[in-house]
């Protein structure tokens, strides 16, 4: 049974799963002067969407499709060379797990929580959550792809005092690209774990490590 409204609940920025404290790499990019305005934000979001966004969306789609979540958790590790980003992935996964089990309790979520008490990677948990909510793999991919760009956009509104209408317009213009990435991710997930994309973003990996060591920062990542 598919329910479009369940996707709205899961994708809502107010879904209490800890995402509000993460900038998706936007905080170090703003500090380094690489994001100064809405155009830079659009380029940043597009790059993030097509790299870590696609990779994460495919992991989520694969989990929603019913592939082994522990194998997918390892696949996420292998696709995340930065220890800071692996830690963030598991932290957000653990926080999402709490919200998910209160919202859509399922034996599969409980089993993953028991197997990974310190947290499984967030996209894997999200895929299982979507499954528990009766959503399709492509819904899970859409949700993760959208998070990949909405997190940085929200953060940049706070970091640069960017006009929120401009930031939302950036997201709206990304909609066709989001649809294509979700479709591609869901298609890859149908072909099994070896077919999952591993698109990576060198600057996100590099700056995540430096950011994690900042003594003073607004965002957790």
């Amino acid at each position: 049974m598919t329910t479009r409204a369940a996707l709205l609940v899961l994708a809502d920025g107010r879904f209490p799963a800890g995402g509000h404290a993460h900038s998706g790499g936007a905080e170090p990019a703003v500090k380094a002067g690489r994001i100064r305005n809405a155009q830079d934000l659009a380029d940043f979001c597009l790059g993030r969407l097509h790299t870590t966004g696609l990779t994460s969306a495919a992991l989520a789609a694969a989990a929603a499709h019913g592939l082994d979540p522990l194998a997918l958790d390892q696949a996420a590790d292998v696709r995340t060379p930065s220890p800071a980003l692996r830690a963030v992935g598991r932290k957000l996964g653990r926080q999402l797990m709490r919200a998910a089990r209160s919202t859509w309790p399922s034996p599969e979520l409980a089993a993953l929580a028991a197997a990974r008490p310190r947290g499984a990677h967030q996209p894997v948990v999200l895929g299982l959550t979507a499954r528990a909510a009766g959503l399709e793999p492509e819904d899970a991919a859409h949700c993760v792809a959208y998070e990949a760009v909405s997190g940085p956009a929200t953060a940049v509104v706070r970091l640069l005092s960017l006009d929120p209408f401009e930031a939302t317009a950036v997201l709206a213009r990304l909609a066709p690209a989001l649809d294509r990435v979700a479709e591609e991710a869901a298609a890859a997930a149908r072909d099994g774990i070896d077919a999952l994309p591993a698109a990576s973003a060198p600057l996100l990996d590099i700056t995540a490590e430096a950011h994690a060591a900042w003594p003073v920062r607004l965002f957790a990542s």
């Binding site: 990019a29 380094a32 690489r34 597009l46 790059g47 292998v78 060379p81 591993a198 590099i206």
Partner: protein, 261 residues
Amino acid sequence: MSVKATARITAVPDGRGATALPVLESEGPLALRRTRSPEPGYARVTVVGAMSAPLGGDRLAIEARAEDGALLAVDSAAATVALPGAGPDAGRASYALRLGAGEGAELRWLPEQLISACGSALDQTTRVELATTARLVLREEQILGRHGEDTGSLTTRLTVHRAGRPLLDQQLAYGPGAPGGWDGAAVLGGNRAVGQLLLVDPVLETASLVSRVLGPTAVLTPLAGPGVLVTALAADARLLRCLLDEVLEELLHGLRAARGA
């Protein structure tokens, strides 16, 4: 006229403390030469002929394997330049590297840069299979465009398995036809030289490694397994190599010390 060629290297211990090369097969533009190794025990192979290949439509491959206990170092005499093929229908070129190292073996894969010339289209795949006690030193550098020109279209995928389990999987895509945002603040930030330096060694299994920021656009990160990856961006090939050389020397020194201890 596109070319299809595969060069093959197999290294084995020669029983006298050195490494022999029972298979050393050149083909087409991929010419292999056994060269003098500066380090005792290693067999060194230099790829000498790949300078102006691959052209659009070419399908080139190198298979290199260090069998159990063998020490193999592979480098190249010059940078590999991906160039446009003859005519508009030449299609994309492919360059497949299939590397392996057995138990107690070591493979050092330290070629010169891969340069993506304007108008070229190349897909490079590097697939590495390591035994549990194998060691790997691997460097890849992608230079986007020759001096002052735009980049060609380049995709790379680096997949490393150890003891049959995945250790690292990374895909990069740049230039015309690549998904949008590749030059933006999340991916390259305007840099034109991208490098990866990967070391896998069983001694890293027990080492407590922490990541290290090597500069504003370079970082050393411990993987979720016995390996470290250096990811670096630079404005050009020379700056990138300086950075990678420095950290490579330090890492090799550290590993020798760890094995000696």
